[in-house]
């Protein structure tokens, strides 16, 4: 499992490869905090290559979204597969995040 960070315009894109769980959530959090420190205010997390997410991973996304919105930015999500979409619906976190079917669609109006 790993995280790759790239930028498109003023949007920081973080791709989650593998799982986002209790064992690596802090790594994701720190990577995004580092980007915020550099001035990034728009973050897109791309789950196209993600397996599963546990409650710790969900919690980190919630925590980061709160922080980024307080800073005047936003954290959005893209490429959730059916299982991940179900996970967000079960927890009602689909109401908290703007979720796009593809990375390109997410970037169009970010």
């Amino acid at each position: 499992m790993s995280f790759s960070v790239s930028t498109r315009g003023d949007v920081c894109i973080v791709e989650v490869e593998g799982q986002l769980i209790v064992g690596n959530r802090q790594e994701l959090k720190q990577k995004i905090l580092d980007e915020l420190e550099k001035g990034t205010r728009k973050v897109l997390v791309d789950f196209a290559r993600t397996g599963y997410i546990d409650s710790s991973g969900l919690g980190v996304l919630v925590s980061l979204a709160k922080k980024i919105r307080e800073m005047g930015g936003d954290l959005r999500l893209a490429n959730l597969n059916d299982d991940l979409q179900t996970l967000f619906e079960l927890t009602k976190l689909d109401t908290l995040f703007q979720i796009s079917e593809t990375r390109e669609r997410a970037l169009e109006n970010f």
Binding site: V22, G51, Y52, D54, S55, S56, L58, T86, L90, K92
Partner: protein, 145 residues
């Protein structure tokens, strides 16, 4: 050469790990493999089993054993064509499962970082119970159909 897996090995897993969350993913993978061998639905393999088992083991490590590496977590899985039974045992004093009823999906809880673990176990498994047998055990049951 790929080691031959006996029917019993394919059905059961019995492993003890130190209290370190880095062990979780490998155990989940082993349980999912056994469920796949018994033709569990794709949704079970990709969502129900990995998420619920990750929650149970991380709870055991972080809450039951307080992240104390000297304490261990014992994971047992028994899979057949009708159901998966998971038991996760820690060295903690246990907790009152029935008292843990907070709903993380309410508006006042939605922005909380924590509080979704037990909720997910209950939503993704058919049965969740806790008991003591010298250790603190959480048992999860998922029916294949």
């Amino acid at each position: 050469m790929t080691p031959r897996v006996t029917p019993a090995e394919q059905r059961q897993l019995d492993v003890r790990i130190p209290s370190d969350v880095q062990y979780i993913e490998a155990i989940v993978e082993q349980v999912v493999l056994r469920c796949a061998a018994h033709s569990y639905p794709r949704r079970h393999l990709a969502l129900n089993v990995p998420v619920a088992l990750t929650e149970a083991i991380s709870n055991a490590i972080l809450r039951g054993n307080h992240d104390d590496a000297a304490r261990s977590v014992h994971v047992r899985a028994d899979v057949d064509s009708s159901r998966l039974v998971l038991e996760v045992r820690d060295e903690g004093i246990g907790f009152d499962l029935d008292a843990c009823t907070e709903d993380p999906t309410t508006p006042e809880n939605l922005l909380r970082e924590d509080g979704r673990g037990l909720f997910l176990m209950r939503r993704l498994m058919d049965h969740v119970e806790r008991f003591s047998d010298g250790g603190n055990v959480v048992r999860l049951i998922l029916h294949r159909a």
